[in-house]
Amino acid sequence: MLFKESVRIAFTALFANKLRSALTMLGIIIGVGAVIAMVSVGMGVRQQVQTSIASLGSNMLIVSPGSASSGGVRQAAGSNVKLKLEDADAIKSKIKNIDYVSPTVSNSYQIVNGNQNWKSSVQGVTPEYMAIRSLTVGTGSFITAGDLNSRSRVAVIGTTVATNLFATANPVGQNIRINNSPYKVIGVLESKGQSSMGQDQDDVVIVPLTTAQERLMGITYVKSINIQVSDAAKMDQVQSEVETLLRQRHRIDSGKEDDFSVRNLTSIMQTMTDTTTMITLLLGSIAAISLLVGGIGIMNIMMVSVTERTREIGIRKALGATFQNIMMQFLIESIVIGIVGGAIGVVVGYASARAISTFGGFQTVITAAPIFLSFFFSVGIGLFFGIYPARKAALLDPIEALRYE
């Protein structure tokens, strides 16, 4: 009952000084609002980075050949010729938790159409490549399993290649020459723009893997095998299973080095996520400082309020108010500032995060965590910064307080 009475007294006191209470709350409102808005911007950046990494292929393992060595002279990594298409098939059939396996070969060739020519990277791939690299075909179609079996001379080209060889004409159905052999263009990829490493992802020509191996390059091995794992948590397990399987298939005795290497993109992903988490934390903590400043504002105004109401405190004490009664009255007042300011701050923060994404073009992500955290933080700040003034009020000597003018 006394608690209810204290809340009522707190509201009466806050309403008696509307402007002052509003300005004090403004500190908390700006603090909470800034935390929510800044964290949502940070989370937005993080999501953008994650999406762009995912477009590279998420949960990706890349198997590449090790270095060849002849007579003790070791060659560059990837110069080994022991990684085969059959290895890819074996991985696909024997290891669980794998969505796609995509072996590739690649090399640079001069591509010619009529009097135009262009040098580009030619990739020999299987149909899974499209899913694993999140490619979409703009016009025409992608390479099929049939193309792979019959070693068809067909090609899918990127938009950069299309523009350079065909200008504005539609390339689908036209013939191009790769390394002086004719290939029919069956599709044009939709533009993916630059990769995060600065490569033009549209400057590419894709042909069936078997065609590239036998008709174009004259090789029997593959340059890399991309494996998409179905579950990020299974990455390590799948990676070690792949390593074991390939060692078996390549008959490598224990104690000898692998003739291949398996890398994954999680480390890159991890770095990116760590970086964006840092950005979010940085933005959030700068905003939290303003929340702290708001708390000091509460303390300041509560000190003024206690001094101003010294006489009231004296009267209350003379009429029988205890230390606890007075302490509670002033604590509740500062907590009310924290709660009301925090609640308004949540609304303001939410609105400004939406405004940033609508008008600023920034992607923002609003989650419950920063909202609850900053709200309870502001209530806590009201409590913490209210303790000292409330204690000061409760400790006042009633005679001194009654004499105060």
Partner: protein, 232 residues
């Protein structure tokens, strides 16, 4: 409800000088006595009243209120004593300015833990008793000085204490209001309340049945001791 003080001293330390505001007070006030404390400024009237009112503690000596040694009470127990046993009336009224007369009167009941309905009923009863039933919802600044002091008296009475302490209750009032206020005190005396009044106006002191004259922290004259109204 007797008040018994023996060898009460209150000593203030100002710099390296000591000042005895009360210098050995022995005083016995019986229940139902109407006592006026008179004396020049600085004679220790207010200090004595603060100690008797449990707002302050003596430096040395013994104060027994109703047989209980006040020095042994904790701060919270002192607060409860002020709340239940003693009603205060001040020279400058000391009403809270932002709340109505009604709520001002009900304030001691808040700290006594009385429910809201009962609070308002009791407050209304005592406002009636001082003749202010039509002014219940007025704020103190909408009332005249005499009316404010009557609100303060209603507030002092609301918890039905045995002792009323009044510090210059007519000091800020005109003659007509003063007479009204003193009337109320006389009626309370008739009802058996113990009243202790600090004043330096002889006419006001004359209303009391016992006059204590103080000088330099000592009681130098004590007249009309032991006159207690018979409660009818």
């Amino acid at each position: 409800m007797t008040i018994l003080l023996s060898a009460i001293k209150k000593i203030y330390q100002i710099g390296d000088q000591t000042l005895a505001a009360l210098d050995g007070i022995d005083l016995h006030i019986k229940q139902g006595e109407f006592t006026a404390l008179i004396g020049p400024s600085g004679s220790g009237k207010s200090t004595l009243m603060n100690i008797v009112g449990c707002l302050d503690r003596p430096t040395s000596g013994s104060y027994k209120l109703d047989g209980q040694e006040v020095a042994n009470l904790s701060d919270d127990e002192l607060a409860a004593t002020r709340n239940k046993k003693i009603g205060f009336v001040f020279q400058s009224f000391n009403l809270l300015s932002r709340i109505s007369a009604w709520e001002n009167v009900a304030l001691p009941l808040v700290y006594a833990g009385v429910g809201k309905k009962e609070r308002l009923e009791k407050a209304a009863y005592y406002l009636d008793a001082v003749g202010l039933s039509s002014r219940r919802s007025h704020q103190p600044n909408e009332l005249s000085g005499g009316q404010r002091q009557r609100v303060a008296i209603a507030r002092a009475l609301v918890n039905d204490p045995h002792i009323i302490m009044a510090d210059e209750p007519t000091g800020n009032l005109d003659t007509k209001s003063s007479v009204e206020i003193m009337d109320i005190f006389s009626k309370l005396h008739e009802k058996g309340k113990t009243i202790i009044l600090v004043t330096h106006e002889p006419e006001v002191a004359a209303c009391a049945s016992r006059q204590l004259l103080m000088r330099d922290g000592k009681i130098i004259r004590d007249e009309g001791k032991g006159v207690v109204m018979d409660v009818v």
